[in-house]
């Protein structure tokens, strides 16, 4: 399509306006996080250092990272064998699994919390009061996104032929899934893992309403006493998530290059 100069000028101006709307808050957050308020204004990196020195903040960061790790592990352990099994042995159940996996997307997270809070009172009773019990809720939360990523990767390989070949050479189902299928869908699993980590690190609804100290909850609490430090932690987590998600777009581009369908 050809465009007139007028349109190009308008496009450039509009893009600048959008960029301002989207980037000024981020820059403001950065500026805010390195400012010293009060009697002696100036710049400092102290608030960023607080992430390591402050006991509460550090433990919440550790809790969030561990949660992310466990969620990813449990998600892969649950989802991959189930999806492979369904694809190979009971294709009729595919619709049902798909429906179940996409369900959390349509129900507001807040509603899930309301429904789950009774369940959680005995989960914490059985497993102790660590924030890590949130893993179970988070696995549900990341299901829709992980399902799509893994499903796309599984569709791209000929799982039936691969597993039949392995089975006829004497491999058990465990070997088939772990040593044959999983190496072939690495990109899908990685994509699912990235988006899960991003979601878990930003998740606030479950943690705050069920009273667990994850990073977002700690940030919200910290904000009331030390705004700039909370901003620094927020920006750091935001950058980490952005890097993960941008990495994800590169991953999917590589997959397209191999000629696989998405």
């Amino acid at each position: 399509m050809r465009h007139s100069t007028g349109f190009k000028v308008f496009r450039a101006a509009a893009m600048v306006a959008f960029a301002a709307y989207f980037f000024v808050p981020l820059l403001a957050m950065f500026d805010f996080s390195i400012q010293v308020r009060g009697s002696a204004p100036g710049r400092t990196w102290d608030n960023w250092a607080l992430m390591i020195t402050d006991e509460d903040l550090r433990s919440s960061i550790v809790a969030s990272l561990l949660l992310a790790l466990f969620t990813v592990v449990l998600m892969v352990a649950l989802l991959v064998p189930t999806m492979v099994w369904v694809r190979l042995r009971v294709p009729r159940a595919k619709r049902l699994i798909e429906f179940l996996c996409l369900l959390p997307l349509t129900i507001p997270a807040l509603v899930i919390v309301v429904g789950i809070s009774n369940v959680y009172s005995w989960v914490t009773y059985l497993l102790g009061d660590s924030a890590l019990v949130l893993t179970f809720a988070y696995v549900v939360l990341v299901l829709p996104y992980s399902y799509r990523a893994i499903d796309a990767a599984l569709s791209a390989i000929d799982a039936a032929t691969l597993s039949e070949a392995a089975r006829s050479l004497g491999a058990g189902w465990f070997t088939v899934i772990v040593r044959i299928i999983m190496p072939n869908i690495t990109s899908g699993i990685l994509g699912a893992a990235f988006i899960s980590v991003a979601l878990v690190l930003g998740e606030f609804v479950f943690a705050s309403l069920l009273h667990f100290d994850t990073l977002p909850v700690a940030m919200a609490a910290l904000y009331k006493s030390n705004g700039p430090a909370a901003m620094a932690a927020a920006l750091a987590s935001m950058i980490l998530v952005a890097v993960l998600l941008v990495g994800l777009t590169f991953l999917s581009r590589d997959r397209h290059k191999q000629g696989a369908s998405s």
């Binding site: 399509m1 465009h3 349109f7 496009r11 509009a14 893009m15 959008f18 709307y21 989207f22 000024v24 808050p25 981020l26 403001a28 957050m29 500026d31 805010f32 649950l78 189930t82 179940l100 996996c101 369900l103 959390p104 349509t106 129900i107 507001p108 997270a109 807040l110 509603v111 899930i112 309301v114 429904g115 789950i116 009774n118 369940v119 179970f136 809720a137 696995v139 549900v140 299901l143 979601l199 930003g202 998740e203 606030f204 609804v205 705050s208 309403l209 977002p216 940030m219 919200a220 705004g227 909370a230 901003m231 927020a234 920006l235 987590s237 935001m238 998530v241 952005a242 941008v246 777009t249």
Partner: protein, 260 residues
């Protein structure tokens, strides 16, 4: 699969397991109606703002050559920003136009006007500005494929038949895009309706929207027995979101005839 079932069964059981109508009656109280109205205003206005501005941005992106760096960068950034919500987003806006925000201070120094005013950022108007921040990129992601689905041949055909650019948009492009656009509006509506974290950090007093009212109902230590009202409010949310999703699926079916 077990967690999904537990949650689904649990979420529905808790609502229906208590067969009293008292909880539903609580929905018609003054406060609950105000919250519902606030939620609907917030979701509808940010869905419209997000949809219009997002569609504009999507068109600007799609009108660039496919290999342009700017185009790919904007799409990637949109992907990140659409996921960007919650606590961090609330902080970003407080740092920008909050009481001692960077932009507030700058405007104050330059013009003497107080952008922060009487605290509008922490009420419904502020929520609209902040929610638009993730609605617009989401619209770009959802709607850019619709623009890409418009074949250049259709435009050439229209122009060969003597249509002006305006005629093309009015009689060909806009009717084709309308179902996709309405579907995207519904999606944005559901997205805003379900969002909680950003509002929870921004708004600490009063319950202008339903999610915050649920928070009050299930965390209240003053009024016992409020939990059931929380269930009723949650049921209200499910009903609204279900209606929206059904509408979305209907529109999606109509669109998919053209977009392939």
């Amino acid at each position: 699969m077990v967690p999904t079932l537990t949650v689904v069964v649990g979420a529905f059981q808790d609502e229906d397991g208590r067969p009293t109508l008292g909880n539903l009656e609580a929905l018609t109280s003054e406060a609950a109606l105000t919250a519902l109205r606030g939620s609907l205003i917030l979701s509808a206005s940010t869905a419209l703002i997000g949809a219009v501005l997002g569609a504009l941005l999507a068109y600007l992106i799609v009108s660039m050559p496919p290999q342009a760096l700017m185009r790919r960068a904007t799409l990637a950034v949109s992907g990140v920003l659409a996921q960007f919500g919650g606590v961090v987003l609330a902080f970003a806006w407080i740092a920008t136009i909050g009481p001692v925000g960077v932009v507030t201070n700058a405007v104050l120094e330059l013009t003497g006007a107080n952008l922060y005013g009487t605290g509008w950022l922490f009420g419904l108007p502020g929520l609209i500005v902040v929610y638009s921040y993730f609605q617009i990129p989401l619209m770009v992601i959802v709607f850019a494929p619709a623009f890409e689905g418009l074949r250049p041949q259709w435009r050439e055909a229209a122009i060969n038949l003597g249509a002006s650019t305006w005629d093309y948009w009015r009689h060909v492009a806009i009717p084709l895009l309308r179902p996709a656009f309405l579907g995207a509006v519904l999606l944005l509506f559901a997205n805003a309706f379900a969002a909680y974290a950003t509002a929870a950090v921004l708004v600490s007093q009063g319950q202008p929207i339903v999610p915050l009212m649920i928070r009050q109902a299930i965390t209240s230590e003053v009024l016992l027995g409020q939990a059931n009202v929380g269930f009723a409010l949650a049921l209200e949310m499910i009903v609204v979101v279900t209606l929206v999703m059904v509408g979305y699926n209907v529109l999606l079916k109509r669109t998919s005839r053209w977009m392939r």
